[in-house]
Protein backbone atom coordinates (compact mmCIF):
# COMPACT_ATOMS: atom_id res chain seq x y z
CA UNK A 1 0.00 0.00 0.00
CA UNK A 2 3.09 2.28 -0.04
CA UNK A 3 2.48 5.98 0.82
CA UNK A 4 -1.06 5.28 1.91
CA UNK A 5 0.27 3.40 4.90
CA UNK A 6 1.84 6.66 6.03
CA UNK A 7 -1.47 8.50 6.07
CA UNK A 8 -2.25 9.47 9.65
CA UNK A 9 -5.81 9.80 10.85
CA UNK A 10 -7.03 12.79 12.82
CA UNK A 11 -8.09 12.05 16.39
CA UNK A 12 -11.47 13.63 16.96
CA UNK A 13 -13.74 13.08 19.94
CA UNK A 14 -16.95 11.28 19.01
CA UNK A 15 -20.05 13.42 18.68
CA UNK A 16 -22.48 12.62 21.51
CA UNK A 17 -26.09 11.47 21.24
CA UNK A 18 -27.69 12.24 24.62
CA UNK A 19 -30.66 10.13 25.63
CA UNK A 20 -32.49 11.01 28.83
CA UNK A 21 -34.78 8.38 30.37
CA UNK A 22 -37.48 9.57 32.75
CA UNK A 23 -38.72 6.41 34.44
CA UNK A 24 -41.73 5.86 36.68
CA UNK A 25 -40.74 3.81 39.75
CA UNK A 26 -43.91 4.48 41.77
CA UNK A 27 -45.63 1.79 43.84
CA UNK A 28 -47.93 0.80 40.97
CA UNK A 29 -44.87 -0.39 39.03
CA UNK A 30 -44.24 -3.07 41.69
CA UNK A 31 -43.80 -6.68 40.70
CA UNK A 32 -43.75 -7.64 37.05
CA UNK A 33 -43.66 -4.08 35.58
CA UNK A 34 -40.48 -2.98 37.42
CA UNK A 35 -38.84 -6.34 36.67
CA UNK A 36 -39.65 -5.94 32.96
CA UNK A 37 -38.41 -2.33 33.00
CA UNK A 38 -35.09 -3.33 34.59
CA UNK A 39 -34.66 -6.07 32.04
CA UNK A 40 -35.49 -3.55 29.32
CA UNK A 41 -32.60 -1.36 30.47
CA UNK A 42 -30.27 -4.37 30.26
CA UNK A 43 -31.52 -5.10 26.74
CA UNK A 44 -30.95 -1.48 25.74
CA UNK A 45 -27.39 -1.53 27.05
CA UNK A 46 -26.54 -4.89 25.45
CA UNK A 47 -27.92 -3.86 22.07
CA UNK A 48 -26.14 -0.49 21.91
CA UNK A 49 -22.88 -2.20 22.94
CA UNK A 50 -23.05 -4.27 19.75
CA UNK A 51 -22.55 -1.09 17.73
CA UNK A 52 -18.91 0.04 17.94
CA UNK A 53 -19.69 3.64 17.10
CA UNK A 54 -23.00 4.03 18.94
CA UNK A 55 -21.61 2.73 22.22
CA UNK A 56 -19.10 5.59 22.29
CA UNK A 57 -21.62 8.17 21.10
CA UNK A 58 -24.89 7.42 22.86
CA UNK A 59 -24.99 8.92 26.34
CA UNK A 60 -27.63 7.75 28.81
CA UNK A 61 -29.00 9.56 31.84
CA UNK A 62 -31.82 8.28 34.06
CA UNK A 63 -34.13 10.27 36.30
CA UNK A 64 -36.60 8.17 38.29
CA UNK A 65 -39.78 9.29 40.01
CA UNK A 66 -41.49 7.19 42.66
CA UNK A 67 -39.27 5.23 45.01
CA UNK A 68 -37.32 7.86 47.00
CA UNK A 69 -39.06 10.74 45.22
CA UNK A 70 -37.19 12.15 42.23
CA UNK A 71 -33.71 10.73 41.83
CA UNK A 72 -30.96 11.09 39.27
CA UNK A 73 -30.25 7.38 39.08
CA UNK A 74 -27.64 7.96 36.38
CA UNK A 75 -26.04 11.17 35.15
CA UNK A 76 -24.99 11.23 31.48
CA UNK A 77 -22.50 8.50 30.61
CA UNK A 78 -21.56 6.87 27.31
CA UNK A 79 -23.06 3.40 26.98
CA UNK A 80 -19.63 1.72 26.86
CA UNK A 81 -19.11 2.95 30.43
CA UNK A 82 -22.63 2.39 31.69
CA UNK A 83 -23.85 -0.27 34.09
CA UNK A 84 -27.65 -0.34 34.00
CA UNK A 85 -29.12 0.08 37.48
CA UNK A 86 -31.67 -2.17 39.15
CA UNK A 87 -34.56 0.14 39.95
CA UNK A 88 -36.97 -0.46 42.86
CA UNK A 89 -40.56 0.69 43.07
CA UNK A 90 -42.46 2.57 45.77
CA UNK A 91 -44.13 5.87 46.58
CA UNK A 92 -46.11 8.35 44.52
CA UNK A 93 -45.65 9.70 40.97
CA UNK A 94 -43.91 13.13 40.99
CA UNK A 95 -43.66 13.26 37.20
CA UNK A 96 -43.62 17.04 36.93
CA UNK A 97 -40.61 17.40 39.20
CA UNK A 98 -38.81 14.60 37.37
CA UNK A 99 -39.34 16.30 34.02
CA UNK A 100 -38.02 19.55 35.50
CA UNK A 101 -34.95 17.76 36.90
CA UNK A 102 -34.36 16.05 33.57
CA UNK A 103 -34.52 19.28 31.59
CA UNK A 104 -32.00 20.90 33.94
CA UNK A 105 -29.69 17.90 33.60
CA UNK A 106 -29.94 18.13 29.81
CA UNK A 107 -29.24 21.86 29.71
CA UNK A 108 -26.14 21.37 31.85
CA UNK A 109 -24.99 18.61 29.52
CA UNK A 110 -25.40 20.76 26.41
CA UNK A 111 -23.39 23.54 28.12
CA UNK A 112 -20.67 21.03 28.85
CA UNK A 113 -20.58 19.82 25.23
CA UNK A 114 -20.27 23.39 24.03
CA UNK A 115 -17.48 24.21 26.48
CA UNK A 116 -15.60 21.06 25.50
CA UNK A 117 -16.09 21.78 21.80
CA UNK A 118 -17.88 18.45 21.34
CA UNK A 119 -20.37 17.96 18.57
CA UNK A 120 -23.71 16.51 19.60
CA UNK A 121 -26.99 15.31 18.21
CA UNK A 122 -30.44 16.50 19.20
CA UNK A 123 -31.16 15.01 22.63
CA UNK A 124 -33.94 12.50 23.14
CA UNK A 125 -36.14 12.58 26.21
CA UNK A 126 -37.99 9.35 26.80
CA UNK A 127 -40.70 9.38 29.47
CA UNK A 128 -42.21 6.10 30.67
CA UNK A 129 -45.06 6.03 33.19
CA UNK A 130 -47.87 3.72 34.26
CA UNK A 131 -49.93 6.18 36.26
CA UNK A 132 -50.96 9.75 36.65
CA UNK A 133 -48.72 12.52 38.05
CA UNK A 134 -49.23 13.23 41.75
CA UNK A 135 -47.62 16.66 41.49
CA UNK A 136 -48.11 19.68 39.24
CA UNK A 137 -46.68 18.89 35.85
CA UNK A 138 -48.13 21.67 33.67
CA UNK A 139 -45.15 24.04 33.83
CA UNK A 140 -42.58 21.34 33.21
CA UNK A 141 -44.61 19.87 30.35
CA UNK A 142 -44.92 23.28 28.75
CA UNK A 143 -41.16 23.81 28.95
CA UNK A 144 -40.47 20.39 27.42
CA UNK A 145 -42.97 21.00 24.62
CA UNK A 146 -41.49 24.42 23.95
CA UNK A 147 -37.98 23.02 23.74
CA UNK A 148 -39.22 20.26 21.47
CA UNK A 149 -40.88 22.81 19.18
CA UNK A 150 -37.62 24.80 19.10
CA UNK A 151 -35.76 21.63 18.10
CA UNK A 152 -33.87 21.66 21.39
CA UNK A 153 -34.87 18.04 22.04
CA UNK A 154 -37.17 15.23 20.96
CA UNK A 155 -39.72 14.32 23.62
CA UNK A 156 -41.41 10.91 23.59
CA UNK A 157 -44.00 9.80 26.15
CA UNK A 158 -44.92 6.16 26.71
CA UNK A 159 -47.83 4.92 28.79
CA UNK A 160 -47.76 1.49 30.45
CA UNK A 161 -50.83 -0.59 31.36
CA UNK A 162 -53.24 1.61 33.34
CA UNK A 163 -51.46 4.88 32.49
CA UNK A 164 -53.81 7.81 32.08
CA UNK A 165 -53.34 8.39 28.39
CA UNK A 166 -55.49 11.53 28.48
CA UNK A 167 -53.14 13.23 30.91
CA UNK A 168 -50.11 11.89 29.06
CA UNK A 169 -51.35 13.39 25.81
CA UNK A 170 -51.31 16.80 27.54
CA UNK A 171 -47.74 16.23 28.70
CA UNK A 172 -46.44 14.99 25.35
CA UNK A 173 -45.87 17.47 22.52
CA UNK A 174 -48.96 17.80 20.27
CA UNK A 175 -46.95 16.76 17.21
CA UNK A 176 -45.81 13.55 18.94
CA UNK A 177 -48.73 11.98 20.84
CA UNK A 178 -47.99 9.48 23.60
CA UNK A 179 -47.63 5.83 22.73
CA UNK A 180 -49.29 3.02 24.71
CA UNK A 181 -46.97 0.12 25.39
CA UNK A 182 -48.26 -3.28 24.35
CA UNK A 183 -48.57 -5.17 27.65
CA UNK A 184 -45.19 -5.08 29.40
CA UNK A 185 -43.20 -5.32 26.23
CA UNK A 186 -40.28 -3.26 27.53
CA UNK A 187 -37.88 -5.55 25.69
CA UNK A 188 -39.10 -4.45 22.27
CA UNK A 189 -39.44 -0.84 23.38
CA UNK A 190 -35.81 -0.69 24.46
CA UNK A 191 -34.61 -2.58 21.39
CA UNK A 192 -36.39 0.03 19.30
CA UNK A 193 -34.82 2.81 21.38
CA UNK A 194 -31.40 1.26 20.90
CA UNK A 195 -31.88 0.86 17.15
CA UNK A 196 -33.15 4.44 16.92
CA UNK A 197 -30.20 5.78 18.90
CA UNK A 198 -27.82 3.83 16.67
CA UNK A 199 -29.39 5.49 13.66
CA UNK A 200 -29.23 8.90 15.34
CA UNK A 201 -25.57 8.45 16.19
CA UNK A 202 -24.75 7.62 12.56
CA UNK A 203 -26.99 10.24 11.05
CA UNK A 204 -26.95 13.63 9.53
CA UNK A 205 -29.92 15.96 10.18
CA UNK A 206 -32.07 14.47 12.96
CA UNK A 207 -35.16 16.04 11.48
CA UNK A 208 -36.11 13.58 8.81
CA UNK A 209 -34.51 10.54 10.36
CA UNK A 210 -36.37 7.40 9.38
CA UNK A 211 -36.92 5.58 12.67
CA UNK A 212 -37.48 1.84 12.84
CA UNK A 213 -41.16 0.86 12.88
CA UNK A 214 -42.70 0.84 16.35
CA UNK A 215 -43.65 -2.77 16.96
CA UNK A 216 -44.20 -2.35 20.69
CA UNK A 217 -47.14 0.05 20.59
CA UNK A 218 -50.68 -0.93 21.44
CA UNK A 219 -52.58 0.46 18.49
CA UNK A 220 -55.98 -0.57 19.75
CA UNK A 221 -56.12 2.33 22.21
Amino acid sequence: MNELELVQLAENPDPRAPCLLLLDTSASMSGEPIRALNEGLQTFCRDVLKDELAKRRVEVAIVTFGNGGVQTAQDFVTVDEWTPPTLRSGGSTPLGQALETGLTLLRARKDLYKRAGLQYYRPWVFLITDGEPTDTWQDAAQKAQQEDANKGLLFFAVGVEKAKMDTLSKIAPPQRPPIKLKGLNFADLFLWLSQSQQRVSHSRVGDQLALPPIGWADVST
Partner: protein, 247 residues
Protein backbone atom coordinates in the same frame (compact mmCIF):
# COMPACT_ATOMS: atom_id res chain seq x y z
CA UNK B 1 1.35 20.86 -17.18
CA UNK B 2 0.41 17.40 -15.95
CA UNK B 3 -2.48 16.57 -13.65
CA UNK B 4 -2.10 13.61 -11.35
CA UNK B 5 -5.57 12.52 -10.42
CA UNK B 6 -7.10 9.87 -8.21
CA UNK B 7 -10.62 9.36 -6.93
CA UNK B 8 -12.57 6.70 -5.09
CA UNK B 9 -15.92 6.36 -3.38
CA UNK B 10 -16.89 3.53 -1.05
CA UNK B 11 -20.08 2.62 0.78
CA UNK B 12 -20.10 3.25 4.52
CA UNK B 13 -20.57 0.34 6.92
CA UNK B 14 -23.76 1.88 8.29
CA UNK B 15 -25.26 1.83 4.80
CA UNK B 16 -24.12 -1.73 4.20
CA UNK B 17 -25.84 -2.72 7.45
CA UNK B 18 -29.08 -1.04 6.37
CA UNK B 19 -28.69 -2.61 2.90
CA UNK B 20 -28.44 0.81 1.35
CA UNK B 21 -26.07 1.65 -1.46
CA UNK B 22 -23.43 4.32 -1.67
CA UNK B 23 -25.17 7.71 -1.71
CA UNK B 24 -22.02 9.64 -2.63
CA UNK B 25 -21.38 10.42 -6.28
CA UNK B 26 -18.51 12.01 -8.11
CA UNK B 27 -17.67 13.07 -11.65
CA UNK B 28 -14.31 14.03 -13.11
CA UNK B 29 -13.80 15.47 -16.57
CA UNK B 30 -11.38 17.53 -18.52
CA UNK B 31 -12.61 20.14 -20.94
CA UNK B 32 -11.24 20.56 -24.44
CA UNK B 33 -9.31 23.61 -23.23
CA UNK B 34 -7.51 21.38 -20.72
CA UNK B 35 -9.38 22.59 -17.63
CA UNK B 36 -10.29 20.01 -15.09
CA UNK B 37 -13.72 19.62 -13.48
CA UNK B 38 -14.12 17.83 -10.15
CA UNK B 39 -17.63 17.34 -8.81
CA UNK B 40 -18.83 15.52 -5.70
CA UNK B 41 -22.31 15.23 -4.18
CA UNK B 42 -23.40 13.40 -1.05
CA UNK B 43 -27.03 12.30 -0.95
CA UNK B 44 -28.70 12.82 2.42
CA UNK B 45 -29.43 9.52 4.11
CA UNK B 46 -32.48 11.13 5.66
CA UNK B 47 -34.00 11.96 2.26
CA UNK B 48 -35.98 9.31 0.41
CA UNK B 49 -34.20 9.96 -2.91
CA UNK B 50 -30.91 11.43 -1.66
CA UNK B 51 -28.78 9.19 -3.85
CA UNK B 52 -30.83 10.03 -6.94
CA UNK B 53 -30.43 13.72 -6.09
CA UNK B 54 -26.67 13.38 -5.67
CA UNK B 55 -26.23 11.50 -8.93
CA UNK B 56 -28.30 14.04 -10.83
CA UNK B 57 -26.48 16.94 -9.14
CA UNK B 58 -23.07 15.71 -10.30
CA UNK B 59 -24.32 15.02 -13.82
CA UNK B 60 -25.96 18.38 -14.37
CA UNK B 61 -23.12 20.34 -12.76
CA UNK B 62 -20.77 18.58 -15.17
CA UNK B 63 -22.98 19.38 -18.16
CA UNK B 64 -23.26 22.99 -17.12
CA UNK B 65 -19.53 23.47 -16.58
CA UNK B 66 -18.57 21.61 -19.74
CA UNK B 67 -20.40 24.07 -21.94
CA UNK B 68 -19.88 27.50 -20.39
CA UNK B 69 -17.15 29.93 -21.36
CA UNK B 70 -14.74 29.99 -18.47
CA UNK B 71 -14.28 33.43 -16.90
CA UNK B 72 -11.16 35.55 -16.95
CA UNK B 73 -11.77 37.62 -13.83
CA UNK B 74 -12.25 36.72 -10.18
CA UNK B 75 -15.68 38.36 -10.06
CA UNK B 76 -16.89 36.45 -13.06
CA UNK B 77 -15.62 33.20 -11.53
CA UNK B 78 -17.55 33.82 -8.34
CA UNK B 79 -20.66 34.41 -10.42
CA UNK B 80 -20.07 31.23 -12.36
CA UNK B 81 -19.73 29.17 -9.17
CA UNK B 82 -22.99 30.55 -7.81
CA UNK B 83 -24.71 30.05 -11.16
CA UNK B 84 -23.60 26.44 -11.16
CA UNK B 85 -25.10 25.89 -7.70
CA UNK B 86 -28.25 27.64 -8.87
CA UNK B 87 -28.44 25.50 -11.98
CA UNK B 88 -28.10 22.35 -9.89
CA UNK B 89 -30.76 23.55 -7.42
CA UNK B 90 -33.20 24.51 -10.19
CA UNK B 91 -32.68 21.27 -12.07
CA UNK B 92 -33.35 19.26 -8.91
CA UNK B 93 -36.44 21.36 -8.25
CA UNK B 94 -37.75 20.67 -11.75
CA UNK B 95 -36.88 17.00 -11.40
CA UNK B 96 -38.78 16.81 -8.10
CA UNK B 97 -41.83 18.37 -9.75
CA UNK B 98 -41.70 15.82 -12.57
CA UNK B 99 -41.48 13.04 -10.03
CA UNK B 100 -44.33 14.59 -8.04
CA UNK B 101 -42.10 14.90 -5.02
CA UNK B 102 -40.57 17.65 -2.93
CA UNK B 103 -37.05 18.90 -3.67
CA UNK B 104 -36.21 17.95 -0.04
CA UNK B 105 -36.60 14.30 -1.04
CA UNK B 106 -33.53 14.72 -3.28
CA UNK B 107 -31.39 16.43 -0.61
CA UNK B 108 -27.67 16.34 -1.31
CA UNK B 109 -24.54 18.39 -0.81
CA UNK B 110 -22.42 19.80 -3.63
CA UNK B 111 -18.64 20.14 -3.76
CA UNK B 112 -17.04 21.39 -6.89
CA UNK B 113 -13.56 22.33 -8.09
CA UNK B 114 -12.45 23.80 -11.42
CA UNK B 115 -8.76 23.95 -12.29
CA UNK B 116 -7.57 25.90 -15.30
CA UNK B 117 -4.03 26.89 -16.24
CA UNK B 118 -4.70 30.27 -14.57
CA UNK B 119 -7.34 29.68 -11.92
CA UNK B 120 -8.50 27.37 -9.19
CA UNK B 121 -12.15 27.86 -8.27
CA UNK B 122 -14.13 25.88 -5.72
CA UNK B 123 -17.59 25.97 -4.21
CA UNK B 124 -19.18 24.01 -1.40
CA UNK B 125 -22.80 23.77 -0.29
CA UNK B 126 -23.24 21.56 2.77
CA UNK B 127 -20.75 19.48 4.70
CA UNK B 128 -17.59 17.72 3.59
CA UNK B 129 -14.48 19.70 2.74
CA UNK B 130 -12.47 21.22 -0.08
CA UNK B 131 -8.81 21.39 0.83
CA UNK B 132 -5.97 23.01 -1.06
CA UNK B 133 -2.24 22.36 -0.95
CA UNK B 134 0.53 24.80 -1.65
CA UNK B 135 3.86 23.02 -1.28
CA UNK B 136 3.37 21.31 2.08
CA UNK B 137 0.84 23.80 3.44
CA UNK B 138 -2.66 22.42 3.66
CA UNK B 139 -5.60 24.79 4.03
CA UNK B 140 -9.34 24.65 3.82
CA UNK B 141 -10.57 26.57 0.76
CA UNK B 142 -14.26 26.67 1.61
CA UNK B 143 -16.38 26.39 4.74
CA UNK B 144 -18.92 23.75 5.59
CA UNK B 145 -22.37 24.81 6.73
CA UNK B 146 -23.04 23.44 10.23
CA UNK B 147 -25.97 23.74 12.62
CA UNK B 148 -26.20 23.26 16.38
CA UNK B 149 -26.17 19.50 16.06
CA UNK B 150 -23.48 17.15 14.80
CA UNK B 151 -23.60 16.64 11.06
CA UNK B 152 -26.54 18.96 10.72
CA UNK B 153 -26.07 20.74 7.44
CA UNK B 154 -27.57 22.69 4.60
CA UNK B 155 -28.06 21.06 1.23
CA UNK B 156 -27.98 22.40 -2.31
CA UNK B 157 -31.65 21.49 -2.26
CA UNK B 158 -32.37 23.69 0.80
CA UNK B 159 -34.31 26.90 0.25
CA UNK B 160 -31.50 29.03 1.70
CA UNK B 161 -28.71 27.24 -0.17
CA UNK B 162 -27.31 30.41 -1.77
CA UNK B 163 -26.62 31.97 1.63
CA UNK B 164 -24.58 28.90 2.51
CA UNK B 165 -22.55 28.66 -0.69
CA UNK B 166 -18.94 28.95 0.35
CA UNK B 167 -16.54 29.63 -2.50
CA UNK B 168 -12.96 30.51 -3.30
CA UNK B 169 -11.29 31.73 -6.47
CA UNK B 170 -7.50 31.93 -6.50
CA UNK B 171 -4.69 32.14 -8.98
CA UNK B 172 -3.49 28.68 -9.95
CA UNK B 173 0.04 29.65 -8.88
CA UNK B 174 -1.04 29.51 -5.25
CA UNK B 175 -2.43 25.97 -5.38
CA UNK B 176 -0.54 22.84 -6.33
CA UNK B 177 -3.11 20.33 -5.21
CA UNK B 178 -6.81 20.07 -4.45
CA UNK B 179 -8.89 17.55 -2.49
CA UNK B 180 -12.66 17.18 -2.32
CA UNK B 181 -14.04 14.88 0.34
CA UNK B 182 -17.46 14.01 1.73
CA UNK B 183 -18.40 14.21 5.40
CA UNK B 184 -17.78 10.50 5.90
CA UNK B 185 -14.07 11.35 5.89
CA UNK B 186 -14.28 14.46 8.05
CA UNK B 187 -13.67 12.58 11.33
CA UNK B 188 -10.32 11.23 10.06
CA UNK B 189 -9.19 14.00 7.69
CA UNK B 190 -10.13 17.09 9.64
CA UNK B 191 -9.40 18.47 13.07
CA UNK B 192 -13.06 19.07 13.89
CA UNK B 193 -12.54 21.18 17.00
CA UNK B 194 -10.32 23.65 15.10
CA UNK B 195 -12.26 23.12 11.86
CA UNK B 196 -8.99 22.74 9.93
CA UNK B 197 -7.52 20.01 7.75
CA UNK B 198 -5.29 17.48 9.49
CA UNK B 199 -2.09 17.83 7.45
CA UNK B 200 -0.61 14.36 8.24
CA UNK B 201 -3.68 12.90 6.54
CA UNK B 202 -3.24 14.89 3.33
CA UNK B 203 0.49 15.10 2.73
CA UNK B 204 1.08 11.36 2.20
CA UNK B 205 -1.97 11.29 -0.11
CA UNK B 206 -0.50 14.04 -2.26
CA UNK B 207 2.83 12.18 -2.42
CA UNK B 208 0.98 9.00 -3.28
CA UNK B 209 -0.87 10.44 -6.25
CA UNK B 210 2.22 12.18 -7.52
CA UNK B 211 4.66 9.31 -7.19
CA UNK B 212 2.69 6.15 -7.88
CA UNK B 213 2.17 4.87 -11.39
CA UNK B 214 -1.01 3.67 -13.06
CA UNK B 215 -4.37 5.41 -12.80
CA UNK B 216 -6.27 2.17 -12.24
CA UNK B 217 -3.85 0.88 -9.61
CA UNK B 218 -4.00 4.17 -7.80
CA UNK B 219 -7.76 4.29 -7.61
CA UNK B 220 -7.82 0.64 -6.49
CA UNK B 221 -5.31 1.37 -3.75
CA UNK B 222 -7.29 4.42 -2.66
CA UNK B 223 -10.53 2.40 -2.50
CA UNK B 224 -8.80 -0.22 -0.37
CA UNK B 225 -7.46 2.49 1.88
CA UNK B 226 -10.90 4.07 2.29
CA UNK B 227 -12.33 0.67 3.19
CA UNK B 228 -9.50 -0.28 5.53
CA UNK B 229 -10.22 -1.39 9.05
CA UNK B 230 -8.53 1.63 10.61
CA UNK B 231 -10.80 4.03 8.77
CA UNK B 232 -13.97 1.97 9.17
CA UNK B 233 -13.42 1.87 12.91
CA UNK B 234 -13.77 5.64 12.99
CA UNK B 235 -16.51 6.43 10.50
CA UNK B 236 -19.50 4.50 9.17
CA UNK B 237 -20.71 6.87 6.48
CA UNK B 238 -20.05 6.72 2.74
CA UNK B 239 -16.61 8.06 1.91
CA UNK B 240 -15.52 9.83 -1.24
CA UNK B 241 -12.16 11.40 -1.94
CA UNK B 242 -11.11 13.16 -5.12
CA UNK B 243 -7.55 14.38 -5.29
CA UNK B 244 -5.54 16.20 -7.92
CA UNK B 245 -1.95 17.44 -7.94
CA UNK B 246 -0.16 19.17 -10.72
CA UNK B 247 3.47 18.89 -11.66
Amino acid sequence: MTWHLVAASVTGEAHLKQEKGNEDFFCLASRLDGSLLLIVADGAGSASCGAEGAELATTVALEFLSEVDLPTTEDAWQMLLLETAQYVHNTLEAHATTREKNIKDFACTLLLGVLTPSWVAAVQVGDGAIVGMNDETITRLTRAAHGEYASETVFVTSQDYLEHCSFTVVSSETITGLVLLTDGLEPVAMNLQADEPFAPFFNPLFRFVRNEKGAYEKSQALSEFLESERINKRTHDDKTLVLVVRS
